[in-house]
């Protein structure tokens, strides 16, 4: 063991000497209590860093067992922990690290070789050390964890080659520890007593080794408390606001010296802001470091071979974001290894390299950070997804067949979904991809899944660089300013004059706007926030709609005015206001006043734009209507030639617009492919016996109605409106196709009998298209 002691680095010695003297001083001065705390916390930070490095090196070493440099580093790390723990009187740490050190020492001296078993045991040791460190951090004591089994395991690994008493083992400077170790091997339940003091006489190591010693090498970096950085960030935020005010004030006067100074102030402030932002940035590699270890454990756990490739580890992110993506990322990787990558046998059978590849790639793009997690596994089994979704009642039987590949893939992010054939202890703990998605969405990120059967799966996470300063759109509503995070913004629609007067229509009581033919649910911001009832809009007054996107839905938010787009500093709301769902925080505007930041998701939920999972907006609206049909709602459509018809809205499934080119023929029936099925198209005008007046347009307006589980498209010239009223039908005009006529909005309107129309179209088709049906 002498050799081991000798190789220990003199720097460690120096450090421990310094520690010892600081400790000694403690007894002379009462006030040194604080200093002791400081020593402990320094030790905790350092030990954790050493262990992280230990894990990484260990996994590396397993790949390259002959690397002397790695082994030296590993040994040194554990030696440092043991030595410092000894000085601080942390017995458990000493006893655990001691056995590991002995084992490592043998390897270093070439007496033993690294086996997978010993790697696993050594990694388990590092976990145990972490556990004790955690206990110290939490309670100040080493806790009551029992590590005798681990020590036994490590000791047993020492034994096979060197049975009974080998002469090299007892060393002069570590006698107590070694004897107790031997004792531990015999009576394994006992922890060996702590080592007394670190060895004193040591040869100096080469400069090379001193240089890469642990994390405490004198470099040009210093540790800074994160709260201090947060405070700096806050102050800089304030400085930016003060700068903005000064710039506003100086813009109206002409004193050149002052304008010049203001300009300089402005530049310096901007530079300071970006520098302070940078201090909070950390490379994503800091959270990737732990992955080799994780992957090794995972791969061994499921009997797979996985190779990790990382690209762009230097990509920087705000530390709060790093913190937030750590767990989701780990979960995704677990999933990739557990579900994605096949077993070596399967892979060989499919002509792939038996070792699977997991690629992590991070890069900046358009002010965001993209993180790609790609595996070359089997890809997502869509049939399994379908089966599982049906089993879990996430979708209806008929729905499954109509869903596109993308829609099926998105099911994976549904709560309560897991495709693992069996619940393993690696993934499938009931925490699914839905949690991953929620966590990513919470920080303003998006997640996207792409999968090629047999080729692998790629998951792309897009996240903002920072949460502290975000681009936002400033709007005014009910005389208040609000900031809307730019990430949720899709587009702005401004309607003036004639367009504004009739733009907002109502389905039952729900306002909607037709945005390029699709119904967009409308939410009035002032109403949602409970401001006084809005004054009735005068005709011709402009309407501003901010089109916003949440995870799965799009809706339009009507505001009074759109002011500007600005970078805002996000500040939390006090605890008193934490419960309010509509706000994500607050910010201070250029004039020093506070503006609230809208929480788009919360707002959508409050306005109930986001209904059940996955329902498309228009369907939600229609379904809602079907539920409470007290008043009758009618869809009005033009058939050309001043002929108007009304269709009961409860029969209308969707409104669609199809390009004329999409029309196809099936026998004598004109059809269109719609959501994976063949949907008959019924020309209402033709059925009603109207001659075609206008040339066929490039796009066809269709009302999709359903009967049983079939859907039919009723073609009309133009969809006019949706009205909600009790109508008086004149029954004398009743035919097989029409329930009668009524006057709606001053137009004589035929009220269509949807059943009759569908029957007639079927009959019609059978009779060949040339046969003309009688008019209403």
């Amino acid at each position: 063991m002498n050799e081991c002691g000798e190789s220990a680095d003199s720097r460690i010695r120096t450090k421990q000497g310094a520690l010892q003297s600081r400790l000694d001083r403690r007894f002379s001065a009462e006030t040194a209590m604080e200093e002791l705390d400081e020593i402990f916390s320094e030790f905790l930070i350092e030990a954790n860093e050493v262990l992280d490095q230990f894990d990484r090196d260990m996994v590396e070493l397993e790949k390259d067992p002959s690397s002397r440099t790695l082994l030296d580093g590993i040994f040194r790390g554990i030696h440092t922990i043991k030595g410092t723990s000894g000085v601080l009187g942390l017995d458990k740490l000493v006893s655990i690290s001691h056995v590991g050190e002995t084992l490592l020492c043998r390897m270093r001296d070439g007496e033993m070789r690294l086996t997978p078993e010993s790697t696993t045991a050594l990694l388990a040791m590092s976990d145990s050390l972490r556990q004790v460190l955690g206990a110290i951090a939490a309670s100040g004591s080493e806790g009551d964890g029992d590590f005798s089994a681990l020590i036994r395991l490590l000791t047993s690994l020492l034994d096979p080659q060197h049975t009974s008493s080998e002469p090299a083992a007892p060393s002069t400077d570590l006698p107590a520890a070694n004897q107790s170790m031997a004792a531990a091997a015999l009576t394994p339940a006992q922890d060996p007593p702590p080592e007394t003091a670190p060895p004193a006489s040591v040869k100096t190591e080469t400069a090379r080794e001193q240089k890469d010693l642990g994390g405490d090498a004198l470099g040009n970096t210093i540790r800074v408390d994160v709260t201090l950085l947060d405070k700096l960030m806050n102050l800089v935020g304030e400085l930016v606001l003060a700068r903005n005010q000064i710039m506003q004030l100086t813009s109206v006067q002409t004193e050149p010296a002052l304008t010049g100074a203001a300009q300089r102030l402005s530049h310096i402030t901007s530079e300071l802001q970006s520098s302070v932002m940078k201090t909070r940035m950390q490379p994503i590699g800091t959270i990737w470091h732990k992955l080799p270890r994780l992957l090794r454990d995972l791969a061994r756990g499921c009997g797979k071979e996985v190779e990790l490739i990382t690209e762009g580890a230097e990509t920087e992110l705000d530390r709060t974001i790093l913190e937030a993506i750590k767990d989701p990322l780990t979960h995704v990787i677990r999933n990739a290894v557990d579900h994605g990558i096949e077993t070596p046998e399967q892979r060989s059978r499919n002509g792939k390299n038996p070792a699977g590849q997991l690629t992590l790639r991070a890069y900046h793009e358009g002010g965001k950070v993209n993180i790609e997690i790609r595996d070359d596994g089997a890809g997502v089994n869509l049939d399994a997804v379908k089966r599982k979704a049906l089993e879990r009642r996430l979708i209806e039987p008929g729905e499954a067949d109509r869903m596109s590949e993308r829609e099926l893939l998105s099911l994976i992010f549904q709560p309560g979904f897991s495709t693992a054939q069996q619940v393993t202890n690696i993934s499938g703990r009931g925490v699914g991809m839905d949690v991953v998605k929620t966590n990513i969405t919470k920080i303003g990120g998006t997640i996207d899944l792409q999968s090629t059967p047999g080729q692998g799966t790629t998951l792309t996470i897009k996240i903002p660089l920072t949460l502290a300063i975000i681009p936002a759109l400033i709007v005014t509503s009910a005389s208040n300013r609000f900031a809307i995070p730019q990430v949720s913004l899709v587009e702005l629609v401004r309607l003036e004059g004639e367009a504004a007067a009739h733009a907002i229509e109502y389905i039952h009581n729900t306002p909607v706007y037709r945005l390029r033919g699709t119904l967009l649910p409308i939410v009035y911001l002032d109403q949602e926030l409970g401001a006084a009832a809005r004054q009735t809009k005068e005709d011709g007054q402009a309407i501003t709609i901010v089109v916003l996107q949440t995870e799965s839905n799009v809706f339009g938010l009507v505001v009074d005015e759109v002011n500007d787009s600005e970078e805002i500093v996000v500040k939390p709301l006090g605890n008193l206001l934490r419960g309010l769902s509509c706000y994500a925080g607050a910010t201070i505007m250029g004039d020093g006043r506070v503006a609230l930041i809208l929480d788009v998701m919360g707002l959508a939920q409050k306005a109930r734009v986001v209904g059940e999972q996955r329902t498309r907006t228009t369907e939600t609206v229609v379904e809602k209507t079907q539920m409470d049909m007290e008043l009758e709602s009618w869809l009005l459509a033009d058939l050309g030639g001043a002929r108007r018809v009304a269709i009961p809205l409860d029969r209308v499934h969707r409104l669609e617009e199809f390009p004329a080119s999409a029309m196809e023929w099936s026998g004598n029936q004109s059809v269109i492919q719609y959501r994976g099925e063949i949907m008959p198209m019924i020309s209402v005008a033709q059925l009603l016996g109207m001659a075609r007046i206008s040339e066929p347009a490039a796009t066809m307006q269709a009302t999709v109605v359903s009967r049983g589980d079939r859907r039919y498209a009723l073609l009309v010239d133009r969809i006019v409106d949706i009205v909600e009223q009790q109508i008086v039908v004149d029954p004398s005009r009743k035919t097989a196709l029409c329930a009668g006529s009524a006057v709606i909005e001053e137009h004589v309107t035929d009220v269509l009998d949807v059943e009759g129309i569908i029957d007639a179209s079927l009959f019609h088709t059978a009779e060949l298209l040339t046969a003309q049906a009688g008019s209403c």
Partner: protein, 153 residues
Amino acid sequence: MAHQMCTFVLDRLLFAVEVERVQEVIRYQDATPVLTAPDSIAGLINLRGQIVTAIDLRRRIGLREREQDARPMNIVVRAAEGAVSLLVDEIGEVVEVDPESFEPLPETITGSMRTTTSGVYKLEHALLHALDLAATLQISAAPDGHLSKREAD
């Protein structure tokens, strides 16, 4: 032992809060209303870059509404919730009160006044209402005792 209270006026009544809870007193500041918040929350103010919730104490305690053009003062107090500003009509002096002169509220007082005020100190010329800060800051979404009109503009 006598202790010090920072006094203030609300609808001609004298109130007080322990002086060590007071962080600072600032002049009237336009608050940004939080529309969906309970009525007694007057809004948010910018205190040197920190966003502080302002509570309309008149509404919270259930007193009469302040006149439209009245400019209340802000007493910024330190609470478990962080800094919170209390809107009061006027700031009074810091007085030393004798614990002997303290008396709990009579049974006849009910409503928000009862929950937000721990009792009164009988001063020579007036009764000093001791604000129970912790209870005052327990603001639920339910409307307060006093029905108030929200600024509609």
